[in-house]
């Protein structure tokens, strides 16, 4: 494999997470944080970044040690690595942004069981060299953060009439409180899934053989 091909492949692994294999809109992975902490844009962003940190570093480590970790104990080893980074994130958020840490609450610790992260280790990082694993992890993380931010922004705009705590409408706006309650998460995700599936279907029809 020559140099340009490697770069192409890295770019491909990176890009697939953003759109074609978006963890939320296409793979529908990691639904727990996707539904639970997307009631405001800032919470969504914080959760996305925390997940990004965990996924990128776990993938780096898993990929680096992939030849040393015996197959029989790989899942346990992955979980140890993931849990370590999650706990680090938990401490660091509590020390630097206590307000956001309080709002995200137990969902920080629950990143450990986000199947997106373990899924990437098992399906990708444990089988590919570090560079590709990094590209894949970054792509997936950004795709995940983007999806969370979409849901969070829609819910905050409709449910509180604000975005990133900045009021958007005048006093005349009556917030749709349901949007920041749990059902609002399901509604928003449902409509977004509908929209993205429609987009992809239209695209597939348009370019037929390429898809």
């Amino acid at each position: 494999m020559n140099q340009p091909q490697t770069i192409n492949q890295s770019a491909e692994e990176f890009l697939k997470g953003l759109w074609k294999e978006n963890p939320v809109f296409v793979a529908v992975l990691g639904m727990c944080p996707t539904l639970a902490v997307t009631n405001t844009a800032i919470n969504s962003l914080a959760m996305g970044l925390a997940t990004t940190f965990v996924l990128v570093f776990s993938s780096l480590l898993v990929s680096s040690f992939r030849k040393l970790i015996p197959k029989q104990v790989r899942i346990t080893a992955f979980i140890i690595i993931i849990a370590t980074f999650v706990t680090v994130v938990d401490f660091v958020l509590a020390a630097t942004v206590p307000q956001i840490h309080k709002e995200l609450g137990a969902f920080i610790a629950l990143i450990v069981v986000n199947c997106l992260i373990l899924g990437r280790q098992e399906a990708f990082s444990s089988k590919h060299p570090v560079g590709l694993a990094l590209a894949d992890a970054l792509g997936m993380s950004i795709g995940f953060t983007f999806a969370l931010l979409c849901i969070g922004s829609i819910r905050e705009i409709l449910g509180s009439g604000a975005l990133f705590n900045i009021p958007l409408f005048g006093d005349g706006f009556e917030p749709w409180v349901i949007m920041i309650l749990p059902p609002g998460g399901f509604f928003t995700l449902g409509f977004l899934l509908l929209f993205f599936n429609w987009l992809q279907q239209r695209r597939a029809k348009g370019v037929g053989h390429r898809a």
């Binding site: 029989q72 849990a83 370590t84 206590p98 409180v177």
Partner: protein
């Protein structure tokens, strides 16, 4: 399944170098992973602990100054043989638990403004934690802040965000007792106007205040007397 394979492997004791790894190697891998994970966690914990504690102390301090308007210094107090004493002089309980503390707030001239009392009460979703400012001379509550709440966003969390509700605690009489009434029906100084749509959370706040006052009032009154002597 893999366990059975390992067992068979061990029994067969094949010396081939590419064979499946021995149990010892599996244990060593996980042991090493756990060891390094532990090292990292201890390091990060030790590094972040002072910052986390500073944030907590800061949040508490801010709340004390908020519920005792005008206060600039405070002293932590705890119960010692039923009497209030400076918290540093009160030994920790045998169980190792920190004694529960209240805070006396003073203004610049050293005048006692009142007492900040942290308290907890089950709300609609989870325990609501708050802190109230109590003026023992006028026997009124002069401030209240929610420190911890998981009440429903948009409804129950108005106990933290609703200005009208917060106004209930500017001068709330504690005698004969604090009661919750519907919005717009406040007639006497001991009544709290509940939030429409958040009755349970509002009533929880009232219970929290009432219980805190009942619990600490005798000790505060006794302490107040000794100060005036």
């Amino acid at each position: 399944m893999s366990e059975t394979r390992i067992e068979e492997q061990t029994l067969a004791a094949q010396p081939a170098p590419e064979a499946e790894p021995s149990s010892a190697r599996l244990i060593a891998t996980l042991g090493l992973a756990g060891f390094f994970s532990g090292l990292i966690l201890v390091g990060v914990y030790l590094f972040t602990l002072p910052m986390i504690q500073a944030h907590r102390a800061q949040a508490l301090e801010r709340a004390i100054y908020l519920v005792l308007p005008g206060s600039t210094t405070y002293q932590a107090l705890a119960l010692k043989d039923g009497q209030l004493a400076p918290a540093e002089e009160v030994p920790a309980a045998k169980s190792g638990e920190e004694p529960r503390r209240i805070f006396a707030g003073y203004d610049d001239s050293g005048k006692l403004l009142g007492f900040a009392i942290p308290a907890e009460e089950p709300g609609f979703q989870d325990i609501i934690g708050g802190i109230l400012g109590y003026d023992p001379i006028q026997k009124i509550i002069i401030g209240f802040e929610v420190l911890d709440s998981k009440e429903t966003p948009g409804l129950g969390d108005k106990i933290m965000k609703d200005a009208a509700f917060q106004n209930n605690f500017k001068a709330l009489a504690v005698d004969p007792q604090i009661v919750a009434v519907k919005k717009g029906e406040k007639r006497s100084p001991n009544e709290v106007e509940a939030i429409t749509g958040a009755t349970i959370s509002s009533k929880a706040v009232v219970r929290l205040l009432q219980k805190a006052i009942e619990e600490w009032r005798p000790a505060i009154d006794a302490y107040e007397k000794t100060l005036n002597q």
